[in-house]
Symmetry: C2
Subunit: 194 residues, 2 copies
């Protein structure tokens, strides 16, 4: 029998899509308070479900974070796939970080994830390939002789900018300008001579 609860009629024994609900709640929490504030019991409470229910869908806390990261890499791969050129890919990378800070944070915080998870690694390599594709699309005389090095450079630049942005380290320099525009100007400055 269900204990008291708020709102609608009696909740069915089966939630319907508990997995989705937990994920959504988790993203909310992470966005506001960061991954370390995540509590399976709290998520269960938000979904109106018993304290051990989440463990049935994501074995652990780590399992939950891993699932989030995998989904994040899929979203990122999707965004990068539509990029017109390398600079656009960079802009989309930054935009992804700003629009989905929770995903981004989980994806790139080491020690939070089960690195050998299959779903995670495949999503991750897919996103990596999309990035490499954007780099190799640049004509060789524009990007220098070493495509691999150019890829690292582009990724570092976009990733560093996005990370510093999220950790509020660019609040001063960027101010109230549109971060995407700043990033565009930044790449324009670095590559102006080509």
């Amino acid at each position: 029998m269900n204990p008291a609860k708020t709102g609608d009629s009696a909740r069915p024994y089966h939630h319907g899509d508990l997995r989705r609900a937990i994920l959504a709640a988790a993203l909310d929490v992470i966005t506001v308070d960061g991954p370390s504030a995540l509590s399976l019991r709290d998520l269960a409470r938000r979904a109106g479900v018993s304290h051990a229910a989440p463990a049935h869908h994501f074995k652990d806390r780590t399992g939950l974070l891993t699932a989030i990261a995998a989904e994040g890499y899929e979203l990122l791969a999707g965004a990068l796939a539509e990029a017109e050129d390398l600079r656009d890919a960079g802009v989309r990378y930054v935009r992804f970080a700003r629009e989905h800070p929770a995903y981004f944070q989980v994806m790139f915080t080491p020690g939070l994830l089960r690195d050998n998870d299959l779903e995670l690694t495949t999503a991750r390599t897919l996103a990596g390939e999309r990035l490499r594709a954007a780099v190799t699309a640049v004509p060789a005389e524009g990007r220098g002789p070493d495509a691999r090095l150019a890829g690292v450079a582009a990724w570092s630049l976009a990733h560093g900018f996005a990370t510093l942005l999220l950790s509020h380290n660019l609040d001063g320099p960027v101010g109230d300008q549109d971060p995407e525009e700043v990033f565009r100007a930044l790449t324009g400055m670095l590559f102006r001579s080509r």
Copy 2:
């Protein structure tokens, strides 16, 4: 002054330098298992001290992390102060991240720190100034008209490279090469035309 501390039979009531011992143990734990694995009780156990002793030196868990971050910014500022030019500053930034991954991780993981802490903010602004100094040391015709933008670009590049390195996202592209050399080559590629 201090009673003997290591190896002897009965532990003295006063540890001697518990604060230092806790910090050192914390850095070990973070290096191996990340900040989320940090437990005050575990640190107390490692230092051979009661479970509540750490709280006397660092009010909370957050206080401990904040102290670590502040010390990290001081170390970073010290490293940047000795830089010869902008590229060298970047190399030192990357080297700092590799030599002190625990500090680096804590410093740039939002939500872990007490951002309004005085010691933290002063150390942070000091490091920021050292970075700006390295940028403005570059002659204007080499860095373009906008020093602020050039600073963001340089910081993003170094920070992104360091972050991706620590999260093992460059294990493939960089391979077994010396990361500092790769970074040097990378900046050489980006700035070859000046």
